[in-house]
Symmetry: C2
């Protein structure tokens, strides 16, 4: 049987194709292709018209370029022939979503629509649909909609229906001209195979679909947006389990990229969720953290539990046969970069760069020694408060507070935020095991990994791979090809090695308890009982009144 | 009549002698003499023995050097003759206090005592007597001592009795060998005139004395420290009103420094309090802010009102005939330096230095635009919470928070802290007028001055002088000499011009109301109802447990 699979990971700024050895689990070759157009948040290609604030679009040609350049490059570097490739899987950012014609053509590539901003794919971090999300949340709460509790009580503005209804409200012609509105991960599979086969992961986590309950009702949408009508109109109602074979490569494309047209292609997946199998995790309870700009935290359990503040729980959403839970922290790598690059860039770093110097200095401090507690809400709180209008807090500042103290307090704030999330799961009956951490910051900050171990009291394992999502995508491709009976078999055959293992220090764990107790009280006070204070601060910032007269200084 | 007076201002690092023209109010000459020994916080001169933490001593020879070098230099630069000098006044840091023999010799200058740390003058910022202050406060509160309410409910560790009892507890031989324990401002007057004439200002603000009530009772001290006995033993009970002539210059000293031995010398004064007359303020209600490392805020009123959180209220303590109220903020110039020099030193400053760049950028922001609120408790809170164990807080941080935002938030935090103090006075019935601000930071940060005006809704006037305390000292010297009938007449004859006047902007004032409302809620929450959280953070910092084992990282 063919011994390799290809995984393609479509990120925010680039895509990566990986050739995975299905016998050894080795990544035989990796090819990265940056998106020529990147994130379109200022104007459309070829125009000078400004996009509104909070918009973020992408160009589907950039994704196609990853396929057309990345796959041949990776194949060539791997030195394997087309017969050796069993299957191909993809993962994508989500909810990245675009209007398409019935033949699969993105509307933004169709003559007459190229200059219409709403015809373009909206990237996950397009945040202009917040008013729609607010309205949907309000109406869902009023009506006591059951689906809401699968999403911790709140839908995100990043998701499918806020973006679709934004389109419906703001450019009805584009809406009407689109035969479908589709996740990019499903679109690229359609592009690869010629078959529209939407996956259940994005349907569940981003479009509020569930196997038993289906979509939220027409009555709900009618109550929120009269006239919007059938939510399935642009989405459909058929969704396919992860690992399902969507089809084989279209012959002309297969030839162009050097693969056989017999290559199986799995239904699409999402970069965060696919990291669990990518990291070699198939057992319930193991807590997977994907740590980069933000943290996506994943865990599976045989039972469905509705609990507050989670991003979502979806049956089969991560691994078939299990309920997949998603939680997360919004500001992580970007919050650290904010401090190191924006606030304290000139602090003397000695040898090496400032990150390394701060890591080294902060690592020498003891629990509690900074005197600081940080609430890591620089970009709101995702779990467990699900409140985008919270902002960050540093308490305990003194004249002796040094940059290393602030840096460590930010790391501790991330670790405490994670402990709060794990506590929330445990308090609602999920049994949690050890932690597997991957992503750029898991590599970059050993101190953060140790602090996550020390504060949680659980071992943290960092897998030895920089291509965790692409590995997971490749595994589903191999399953789709029938190379393995199921994803569990694929995982156990290819599990990556461990780069580093962080064992919790019992002394530090105990010493952090009283600091965490303060954190948790501040969290409850400023995040719940007096959340009005931070909300009002943000409102005043955004709504800052018209400029006042210049300071009036006179001398006499 | 002689047309000039001399004021000598003894600061923390240097002393300044000023020759003041009593007809025009002009500062004819200034001479500054740095203290050779500066602040002794590591070891005594000529020894290598380490001083304990929180100690801060001075050398009386440094003060004498200011008299011997500074006065002749200033006289020479002024080009006035000894007959032209009517009188001389001094002001000093306080409570700076030293043990002396009956002949006025500082014990640290007497053979046999030079190597005893407790024989040396303790500078105002010697903080090692905190346990004594805690004990006195506890016992005073238990006994319901009336004097406590003159000091907002709490005595400071910097004051007379904590320092005296620290001496009594820790070096009984020095205590017994000292005939007196005296404020430096009274000691230098003794040195100048040969007469021990203690002033009522330091007796009132620092030694808990009041005209009607006298000192706290022997029973109180006996309850707190059995055996300590009579509080008047080293202090005396005769205190002289500000502007009283202590005597004339000792002939040999007068000759040495180029003055007549008929020159009248006023009883001593304190650098902060003397700034009110120095700035030209004699009317009740005008709010005087001395803004440097910290803020000392002063106001006078015909009535005695006991109100919470103030530093103290003393009859005749600032201006004879009025009750003088003192309040303050602990971290101001040093908090700004902390941010600019320690945290953000490498932020690109463009042209000019970083302070100027941050001032310029922060001045362009609108009220509320930073999205931040800072509680300026980097060194605790003096007024109105009187809580040294509080620490600073910044709330509202986001990924778009820039250094200019933090800088402005710190200034706003200072301005809000001042408004809170003024609100407290007003809520307890004091009628406040406009603000007069002096001190280094009043010069350095026009933005802070404008923010104090905008947040308080009151005009801020900055007098045109860098020698406000020395001016005030000189005025009392002139009164002691009979050159004026009283200090009010002296002030109105010599009032300094106005360098800058900051008029509150009504739009900014209104725009700050909702921001201040958030500040005040955070202040109440973290400073009172949940002050335990910041207290515990500080306790954990100070008591940080023994180092934990190094991070245990293994690879496999």
């Amino acid at each position: 049987m063919p011994a390799y699979a290809i995984g393609i990971d479509f990120g925010t700024e680039s895509g990566r194709a990986v050739v995975l050895d299905l016998e050894s689990g080795a990544e035989v070759a990796v090819s990265e292709v940056p998106y020529p157009s990147g994130v379109l948040d200022r104007q459309l290609p070829g125009t000078s018209e400004e996009l509104p604030p909070d918009w973020a679009l992408q160009d589907p040609d950039d994704w196609v370029a990853v396929v057309e350049r990345g796959v041949p490059e990776a194949l060539s570097a791997a030195g394997v022939s087309r017969q050796d490739i069993a299957g191909l899987g993809v993962d994508f950012t989500s909810c990245t979503v675009l209007p398409v014609r019935g033949d699969g053509a993105p509307l933004c590539t169709v003559a007459g629509w190229q200059l219409r901003p709403h015809a373009w794919p909206k990237l996950w971090k397009h945040h202009a649909a917040q008013p729609v999300a607010d309205r949907l949340n309000e109406v869902a709460a009023e009506r006591g909609e059951d689906f809401l509790s699968r999403y911790g009580g709140k839908l995100s503005s990043e998701w499918y229906f806020p973006k679709l209804i934004e389109l419906w409200l703001e450019d009805r012609e584009v809406y009407d001209a689109a035969d479908g509105f589709i996740e990019a991960t499903d679109w690229i599979v359609w592009h690869l195979t010629g078959y529209e086969r939407r996956n259940i992961c994005t349907a569940g986590y981003k479009a509020c679909w569930a196997e038993r309950e289906g979509l939220p009702s027409i009555e709900f949408f009618e109550a929120a947006y009269p006239g919007f009508a059938d939510p399935a109109a642009k989405l459909g109602t058929d969704f396919f389990t992860l690992g399902t074979k969507a089809g084989t490569l279209r012959p002309e494309l297969a030839q162009r990229i050097g693969l056989s047209d017999a290559t199986a292609v799995a239904v699409g997946n999402v970069d965060s969720f696919v990291s669990a199998p990518g990291a070699g995790v198939e057992e319930p309870g193991t807590f997977v953290m994907v740590i980069g700009t933000s943290i996506c935290a994943l865990v599976t359990d045989p039972r469905e539990i509705r609990l507050p503040g989670i991003t979502g729980v979806v049956k089969d959403g991560i691994l078939p046969g299990l309920y997949g839970y998603e939680a997360g922290q919004v500001a992580v790598g970007d919050m650290l970069a904010w401090f190191v690059d924006e606030i304290a860039p000139g602090v003397a770093a000695g040898d090496g760069d400032l990150y390394e110097a701060l890591e080294r200095e902060a690592a020498a401090l003891r629990p509690g020694e900074t005197g600081l507690v940080a609430l890591d809400w620089w970009n709101g709180n995702r779990t467990i408060l699900a409140d985008a209008d919270l902002t960050g807090v540093i308490a305990g500042l003194s004249l002796s507070t040094a940059p290393r103290d602030v840096y460590r307090a930010l790391l501790e704030g991330i670790a405490f935020g994670n402990r709060r999330i794990m506590d929330n799961f445990a308090e609602h009956g999920l049994e949690l095991g050890d932690i597997v951490a991957c992503g750029g910051v898991a590599e970059k900050s050993p101190l953060l990994m140790q602090l996550i171990a020390d504060t949680s009291g659980r071992e943290v394992r960092v897998p030895d791979s920089a291509q965790i999502p692409a590995r997971g995508a490749a595994l589903f491709g191999a399953v789709a090809a029938g190379r393995f009976a199921d994803i569990a078999e694929a995982i156990s055959a290819t599990r990556p090695g461990t780069a580093r293992r962080y064992v919790p220090d019992p002394g530090a764990n105990a010493a952090y308890d009283p600091v965490y107790a303060i954190y948790r009280e501040l969290y409850e006070t400023l995040g719940r009982s007096r959340a009005d204070l931070l909300h009002e601060l943000k409102r005043l910032r955004v709504m800052a009144p018209a400029p006042v007269a210049a300071a009036s200084v006179t001398a006499d």
